[in-house]
Amino acid sequence: MKKFWKRLSALWHRDQLERDLEDELSFHLAMKASETGDAPSAHRSFGNATAFKESCRELWLFSTLDSLSQDVRYAARTLRRSPLVTGVAIVALALGIGINTTVFTVIGSALRFDMGVDRIDRVVTLMPGETASTSRPQPTPDIWTLRREVKTIASLAAYRFTPVNLSDSHALPERCSNVQMTASGWAMVKPKPALGRGFVPADELPSAAPAVLLSYRVWRRRYGGDASILNQTVRVDDVPRTVIGVMPPGAQFPEDADIWTPLTITDALAASSQRGLLIFGRLAEGATLVAARAEVDAVARRVYPNRAGGHFVNVSPFLQMIGVYDSRALLIAVMFAVGFVLLIVCADVANLLLARAAARSREIAVRIAIGAGRARVIRQLLIESVMLAAAGGIGGWLVAVPTLRWFDGMTEGGHRPSWIHFSMDTRAFLYLAGVSIGAGIIFGLAPALQLARTDVNSAIKDGGRSAEGGRRGRRLSGILVAGQMALCVVLLAGAGLMIHSTVNLYAAPMGFDARNVVKMRISLSETKYPSPAAALAFQQTLKSQIAAIPGVVQVALASNLPLAGSRPFRVECEGQSPSQWDGRSPSVVRQPSPPTMSAALLVDENYFRTLQIPVEQGRTFTRDDDAAVVVNQAFAARFWPGEPAIGKRLRPVSGDAAHAWLTVAGVVHDVEQDLFQPLAHTALVYLPESSQPLRDSFVIARTSAPPQALVEPFRRAVQALDENLPAQDAAALSNFIEERRLNITSFEKLFTLFATVALLLASIGLYAVIAHAVSRRTQEIGIRMAMGGARRDIFSLVLKQGMRHVAYGFLAGLPLAFALTRVLKRLLVGVSPADPATFLAVALVLGAAGALGCAIPARRAVRVDPLTALRHE
């Protein structure tokens, strides 16, 4: 410890130390000289005073620190000496690191799942399971039974997510998402209300005063952040409720809701587990998901002893309900993609340094000759590359910060979970620093090891063109280039598949005309419109009001918009063709099929004309035609292949009860209903909406005017009829479709961007390596030309050398690409992950880029003047 202080004070009084050393040695020398009387001989026998001083100095100072700062200064000088190489390397690194940090921040943030619950990964949901044979939701034990019997899951809670209408005297009524949750669920929520109080078990009692908790954003937006809203009364679905508190910003559990209300589990509610009620709980201390599954299954079997095989209740991680969770693989694929881009940048910079290494071998040889250890040389070179990377990191930061800000602004206010913040936080900064230093070591290590092996004798003798080291260096840079090409193959394959998908997506006929259509969502509360008849009556009035707006041609109503899914529908069809009944005699041809899962849409009589869906056979239903249905081509082909569907009968089945038979009146053209399967059409039944009026429906109108101009008149028409009813998401249908497709198109753009950048960087890398090889071989080329070598041969010689790297890279990249593109499967439309056409295109693009990278130096090679080349030495 004392030693440390002595050293520290020496460091402080460094000049003093220098002077003292100088004085001490010169005193010694003087004494020696005066003794012998021969100054020159005393000097000679004294030896190298500088070396003594150096070794004494090393004792006193923190020598590693000192030599480190020396190395850093030396590295800075070296980097400054070749500004072009340094500049190119820094810019490339800045881009690579910047993009990486941006993507890491975005994706890392999305995958954090910080929902304000401790150990969210231990929270599980219990959903009714399906058995393989019937695909029918099974009756499940109610929450009381589960609470009593299941020990592996502690604190079982339940919630349901319902859209409600929020209205009061403050602003126009609006549609809000409402989470009704039991107090046991609230016990899991970590964030405390920013204002007022949260829910307690007492709020759950039927006798409790109706209460509501506001989200921060609703409080700010609707009530202007005014604290006096506490204890006031607002109407939720026309029920007056007292505001008891405001949640902090970002409260997210169990779903991103606008408001929260208590959930009282009545016997009726508990008995029907299908009423949108979601049961969830936290795994007990030490319990595993597997154990919980087994226990819940055993409990269910005790409650329903007569049940067949399969799971009664699916116990699965809560996170599985979150969209991002399912896309984890995809997001990680994107991270890999940018990682590849950075690796390609590293390889480029490594190649730049390797090319320079050849020129520096003499300098290094001299350093080794005058006594620098090889470790010191490697350290020196690594310091150089880490400094380069650090500069790149600073550049990367300058790239990442505005990109993130832009991205943040772009995605603001969308359906973005609140735990996702796109900003440079500590985590992102640490990542950036780690990536920078790691990159520096990755691209610096190869040239450094290469140089440190320099053979001092030959390097000094033949002026930095040591044959042995050169060959090794060239092989290394060849491998780096091939590696770059391999990574490019992966990125190009990803981009190619996504482009192919997007083309398919847009080429697929949607089956309807989306131009000049306005859509809006209307949700009628049960309080105000208690009976189906009331709902239907309101809809009729609304439709006629909207039809009266100038510019509106036709108005229709539907349960789902195109590209936005459909409702599950269990159906029993009459008169299935014998081909579906293997081994049965033709006499049972009229026997109904077993109930099968299909899909349905509830629409009114104007739907087909409004969206201009072509009627292929028969007719569509009319207004009072309750027993008639329309099916799409896919349905007709699935259930009555090769037979006319018109006049056939089908009936919905719910539970074990079958409903009345309905007759197929017509067959319409297939419409793209499933966003992710635009080419495979779902078998659909269109049921008349008047038979079971919808509380939650879409109003669709064909217009003669630009749809945007009609959005406002639509809102006013709704307000005029019911001032507490919001007109949700009123917009042009074509905009809605673009939004839905954004998922696929944005990934396509991302991959294309990465692949383009990667290809560019890899081509530059190839170019640099070939150009360097050509310049090394100038003399040889000159001799060949002087000996009568044809220019064409020399051109192809150089080209062949370069294209070999491309070919190796392609072969190495193929298996990697096959393995990784499988992750994209979810996003692919009508393309298999191993699509031969795409991979052929990848080969062509890679070949073309490679050829371009080689052709430029090859052209330079054939322009070599033999005389100049031979005089080159």
């Binding site: 004085d23 040695l25 005193f27 020696k32 004294f46 004494c56």
Partner: protein
């Protein structure tokens, strides 16, 4: 480069021990220490400056000796080294170790 470099740790440690032993007689400057070791060993041991000064500085850092600037016999500014109590203890330790070692070596050499 002198006894310091020629024989590894044993010899290096030996120089330290000789310096400490020499300083037992009183404060001395570097040149004096070298001369004193040389004459005391009947000119057998020649201490080279390249080993002496690093050794002195190391001992100073380790706290076995202290240094002070003073006037030399010919009135020049010189750095005088003096044994510290810690150095005395260290000398005793090293001397004991040395005696053990030489006895052992002598026993082997005289055995045949």
């Amino acid at each position: 480069m002198g006894i310091n470099r020629s024989g590894g740790e044993l010899v290096q440690g030996t120089l330290d021990m000789l310096i400490l032993k020499t300083l037992l007689r009183g404060p001395m400057h570097g040149y004096g220490i070298a001369q004193s070791i040389q004459s005391a060993s009947d000119e057998v041991l020649r201490v080279e400056e390249g080993s002496l000064y690093p050794a002195l500085h190391r001992l100073e850092l380790d706290g076995f000796i202290d240094a002070e600037w003073g006037q030399s016999e010919n009135h020049r500014r010189a750095k005088f080294y003096r044994l510290t109590p810690r150095g005395r203890k260290q000398l005793a330790r090293e001397a004991g170790h040395w005696r053990q070692l030489t006895t052992a070596i002598a026993r082997i050499m005289e055995a045949s």
